[in-house]
Symmetry: C2
Subunit: 363 residues, 2 copies
Amino acid sequence: MEHTYAVIMAGGGGTRLWPLSRQDKPKQLLPLIGQETLFQSTVQRLENLFSPERILVVTMEEQAREMHQQVPSLPEENYIIEPAPRGTASVAGLAATILRKRDPNAVMAVLPSDHFIRNRDLFHYLLRAAFEVAENGYLVTLGITPTHPSTAYGYIQQGDPLSGGYNYPAYAVKSFKEKPNDKTAQKLLRSVDHSWNSGMFIWRADVILEEIKRQIPVLSAALADIEAAWDTAKQAQVLKDRWYDLKVETIDYAIMEKAKHAAVLPAGGLGWSDVGSWESLFEVLLPDMNGNIATNNKSHLGHETNNTLVYGSISDRLIVTIGVDDMIIVDTDDILLVCKSDQSQSVRDIVEHLKKHRQEKYL
Amino acid sequence: MEHTYAVIMAGGGGTRLWPLSRQDKPKQLLPLIGQETLFQSTVQRLENLFSPERILVVTMEEQAREMHQQVPSLPEENYIIEPAPRGTASVAGLAATILRKRDPNAVMAVLPSDHFIRNRDLFHYLLRAAFEVAENGYLVTLGITPTHPSTAYGYIQQGDPLSGGYNYPAYAVKSFKEKPNDKTAQKLLRSVDHSWNSGMFIWRADVILEEIKRQIPVLSAALADIEAAWDTAKQAQVLKDRWYDLKVETIDYAIMEKAKHAAVLPAGGLGWSDVGSWESLFEVLLPDMNGNIATNNKSHLGHETNNTLVYGSISDRLIVTIGVDDMIIVDTDDILLVCKSDQSQSVRDIVEHLKKHRQEKYL
């Protein structure tokens, strides 16, 4: 594990957890599960595996300061500022460029900052196994064994097992599949060769840069200029100049789908969630005997209330529910959301409506 | 109408509209319907019929100041402070004592401060008719023609029509009935001789004081002492001393049930409600096309939301509902209530729970 690094992608916005997640307060900076923010949990999850100097965070200018406050243990120079959002492939390429310059033998795990993983020991074990496969030149991704017919995740179909005598079963990637409809999701759940696409990737820096050169030459050329200017006085200017010209490219579509040596390690029992909707919190938080979850709030009084999530973010506020079933209640300083659990995806429609009517203060 | 007066009973507390109504902010002081508080509406409803000097308010020390701020048009000396709550019969007796001293021929309407009446013209017409009957020595009450089988109201059964050639039909009271169960309420609705007990009474001051002397001699004796001390230096002290010794007595049970000459004027079409529960607001407020009522709040965004009442009392706060049916949502500074409409009576259980656990700040 001598040349291993972790890269946390923390630039995202996202409105699916609105009204808690906002333009100036994205999901990863919020204490959605327990006392820590998702970003803090993500770093803590890595701390036994990587010393702080080996953890890189790629984020936006607006968020870097708060991230550093939340996690003062990471060196300030390990926060890489992305001048503008250009997709996960661009972020991965930038991080690989920087790491290869530091360490030509760097092997890196590229990880989202805003996911939840309950089983840390298993996660560590899997990362070690993935590094082992990656060192042999594979672009590795962790697949999550489906636990229900989710239409919220993309799927990865595995092909033949890799030869090489790995400790953990690894497979060639046969195909990536977009979010399915209900019927297809049922089918994929019953199949044994599909996992959820977790967005976690493990590879050698030189291998991913080679793959970018082959598949996204424009990005590769920009990265070459950035590499040349890195650690010089021109670093910031060149990064900015070249970054703005890039197109948005994602790892899944621009790299993995046509990669030469893509591999997947399917993992069950991680207790993983992308925390992509309010409803997903029911999967990762432990409900009381009535199925209720009162998170971030000690003052919920439920009377004949079942399967209801109450997220309160105002201190000293009492939330009372009477005769409420299958609801999500999110109580923030300036917005109250009361939403039927199975309609939590409509939160996006509300956000769109507010954008259209220029209600900036609620976005 | 030369000797007519109005007495507004405004001492009540009540927790049925919790968390909006609170110990220090009773229902009558709240803007439940429209911009005005129920107390303001009650006074405005009387202004065409009574000059301000002829409107008396009986209330508690704690509320008098805010009432005077809400309705500066009433003379300060017309606010009578009840030293402690001793029931509507005691209040009516005190008001009658004061009015008879001012005007031996006083005829008075005793009215709750926290009810709603949509049709003011009809109300004026009915009050005039009731005064006409009262001048002949009757204890008159307004009965409300039931519009649904309510179990929330007491009922009055009417007997024979009064002779006397009144402009409006008046009947002897046959009996008072307590709040019925569902089955009885259905039966009472179908009968033609039962009305809801509105708690509005009209009578001559001398007649009610005579009736109190006959039925509640202890109160009568206290009132005699208070009358003797009234408008002297000892007024406040005597009122206090005698008041604390009284028992709680209500007009319905201690006076009307066994009164010699009780009469009822049944009234339909008043658009009356005692605003006694959150659910009752559905009867008096006009819903939008989806059956929703957003009162006191311009910022409700409902998506697939039906028959839901949203009462917001925090300015600039956005309330979003998605997939919500038949709910009552009350959003106050320190408490949020989300309650199924037909369970709004359980609000009392919550209040009891908070009392038991000494959560004073939420009461």
